[in-house]
């Protein structure tokens, strides 16, 4: 970590040592900037195409003219099954977009804050903690209203995040990837046991809980999206605002402090943003794992280590990944569908193993 490196750290174009993807040396700033913008634009185009696919494809086959007609008559009373199917797919698409973006950004922020390549709201047990809080709220306090669920989920996510980090960073060597992942897995096991214990004697709500526990966007409704939107917006803004501090934090706490960063404050704000995002996403869609893991890694290859770019890329790619998984789940299991939480785990876990295999043992 040389001095020249620190002085250019927050500029997007230069290569910084100690990060994964070594970038081609010294591209002129403007070209690099343009190229990144172009990739972002391409991502957005793909996202729009995916949205179209998500509205057009579903377990009920609706032909093109009917779709156009249904979209044309939005807001009017729904007529016929075709139109009903298409209208139902719109909130679902929107939900997949916002949840995917939230999880992607949450993962990128967590990986930055913990300086840990394996951080993800699912792996660290934060989604499961949010689930447990919601289930407890449902079973013991009769909190079925959507805004109650959101608050409980955020509370659960925050508690779990603090707990996981405290557990993993106690001791000499600090929060290594291994300790974080193990603490997350252990807390997930604890939360799962508690969820079973809470839900089992309550036959009336256990089906409700079980379907919610998988994680999916099939039950999307506008009012739930509306309730969760402010939380996601605040979380997203907070995350983008802390992008610059994350760049400094990536150099290590001492160097970041030397650069004038208030380390604890910066870290706390960034962590808060990821908890808000992960908690709110879990509240509305259930625990969806691995989006937050896969997306930032893929994005780092294109965007480089600068968090200002990385976070924007992660938002777009997270939304895209979740939407694509959801559409895929509707196609491969026709006429039924596979919940998106299952597909993301099937896509993401092999990727997780791949990352683990690539690294040297000492880095873990």
């Amino acid at each position: 970590m040389t001095l020249t490196a620190t002085s250019t750290a927050t500029r997007p174009s230069r290569r910084r040592p100690g990060t994964d993807a070594p970038r081609s040396p010294a591209l002129p700033t403007r070209t690099a900037w343009r190229r990144r913008l172009a990739w972002l634009g391409a991502g957005l185009v793909v996202l729009v195409l995916l949205c179209a696919a998500s509205v057009a494809i579903g377990s009920r086959t609706v032909d093109m003219p009917a779709i156009v007609e249904a979209l044309g008559s939005l807001g009017e009373p729904v007529e016929g099954l075709d139109q009903a199917a298409v209208v139902k797919r719109i909130p679902r698409t929107v939900l997949a977009l916002v949840v995917g973006a939230a999880l992607g950004v949450a993962g990128a922020v967590m990986q930055g804050v913990t300086r840990n390549p394996l951080a993800d709201p699912g792996i660290l047990g934060i989604n499961m903690g949010a689930s447990l809080a919601v289930v407890v709220g449902m079973a013991w306090f009769g909190m079925f209203a959507a805004h109650h669920m959101i608050w409980m989920a955020i509370l659960g996510a925050a508690l779990t995040a603090v707990l996981v980090y405290a557990i993993a960073s106690a001791g000499r060597s600090g929060a290594s990837p291994l300790k974080l992942a193990l603490a997350g897995a252990a807390l997930t096991a604890v939360a799962t046991s508690f969820i079973t214990a809470v839900a089992m004697p309550r036959g009336d709500i256990s089906a409700n809980i079980r379907s919610w526990q998988i994680g999916g966007v099939g039950g999307a409704a506008w009012d739930a999206i509306g309730l969760v939107a402010p939380f996601l917006a605040v979380g997203m803004l907070l995350a983008l605002a802390s992008a610059r501090s994350l760049n400094s934090l990536a150099l290590g706490d001492d160097l970041a402090a030397g650069l004038g960063e208030r380390v604890m404050l910066a870290r706390g704000l960034a962590a808060l943003s990821s908890v808000l995002l992960a908690g709110a996403a879990t509240a509305v869609a259930g625990p969806i794992g691995f989006v937050g893991l896969v997306v930032p890694h893929a994005c780092r290859l294109l965007a480089g280590p600068d968090h200002r770019w990385l976070l924007s890329y992660s938002a777009v790619a997270g939304a895209g990944l979740l939407l694509a998984s959801d559409v895929l789940g509707r196609i491969i299991a026709r006429p039924s569908e596979i919940d998106v939480g299952i597909l993301t785990a099937l896509i993401g876990a092999p990727f997780f193993i791949h990352i683990v295999r690539q690294r040297k043992v000492r880095e873990l």
Partner: protein, 360 residues
Amino acid sequence: MTATLTPTASTGSPTGSPAGTLAKVTGARLGRRRRRALVIGILSVLVVAVFAASLMVGRTFYGPAEVLGVVFGQDVDGATFTVGTLRLPRAVLAVVAGACFGLGGVTFQTMLRNPLASPDIIGISSGASAAAAFAIIVLGIDGPARSAFAIVAGLGVALLIYLLSSKGGVAGTRLILVGIGIAAILTSLTNYLLSRAGSWDLQEALRWLTGSLNGVGWEQVLPTLVALLVLAPVLLGQSANLESLTLGDDTAAGLGVRVNRTRLVAVIAAVGLVAFATAACGPIAFVAFLSGPIAARLLGPNGSLLVPSALVGTLLVLVADLVGQFAIGTRYPVGVVTGVLGAPFLLYLIVRQHRIGATS
């Protein structure tokens, strides 16, 4: 784990005369041996006591005389069915499965040098239970075929984890993380199966996913008992080598341990134990995880943890089953009880272990 091995723990401060030192060392060694015998003795007595209690207590209480009569094959009115058919296989399986989980768990923890790396956290148990859920919901098979399926799948998943984490020698760290990834895949597959299941199959499958001793008969007990009788001696035979492995692979190799061979034998035996027990009664949460550390706390740095862990595992399952059946209003399966009771201890353990500064 690592802390239990420091040989200097109880030898005290150095003294002048060699004779005095010798006396101290001998005394300490004797004390250690005595403590070990004491702990194992007390645990054994407790196991026998709780085992007897779980035969006697129930909706109807039967005295020791009646229970003993049934156990020795007499025909006691009423008790023959209740104790002989309902309670006895249940209690025996609790003992056997507890021992299997305890042994399997402590083997992994010792070998991987990390108390969090127990089979239920790194995906070994979830292989067997996902397979059982698959067998129930998709294949619709039951009985021995289902158990065999679960056992084979458990071994297969363990093998997969082992292969995926071997890259120029199996590193414990990588094995743990690969296991966590595999566990995530299996959990999501299981969730998918559950979301497709009919309500009858669902009840049956949930039993396998939480761990339960309800409705156990001798046909579940026997295979597990055989597995324990065959595999436990194998593990006990390796106990000295396992101890050496906790010093690190290089040191162990320097001490003359064939590291890879020891590790392979231990993995196969431990996975076999866990898979057989899981096939019989589901993955009873945290028993594999907690037995070793509890035994280590009781025993101190006094030799192999295998036997004490097996006893602790047995005790945990027996007590948790009693609690689940009678102590709370709702009847909970044993896995839920161990899961909930185990949670605080788990957190305590993680924090404490890291404070010692174990190099995980």
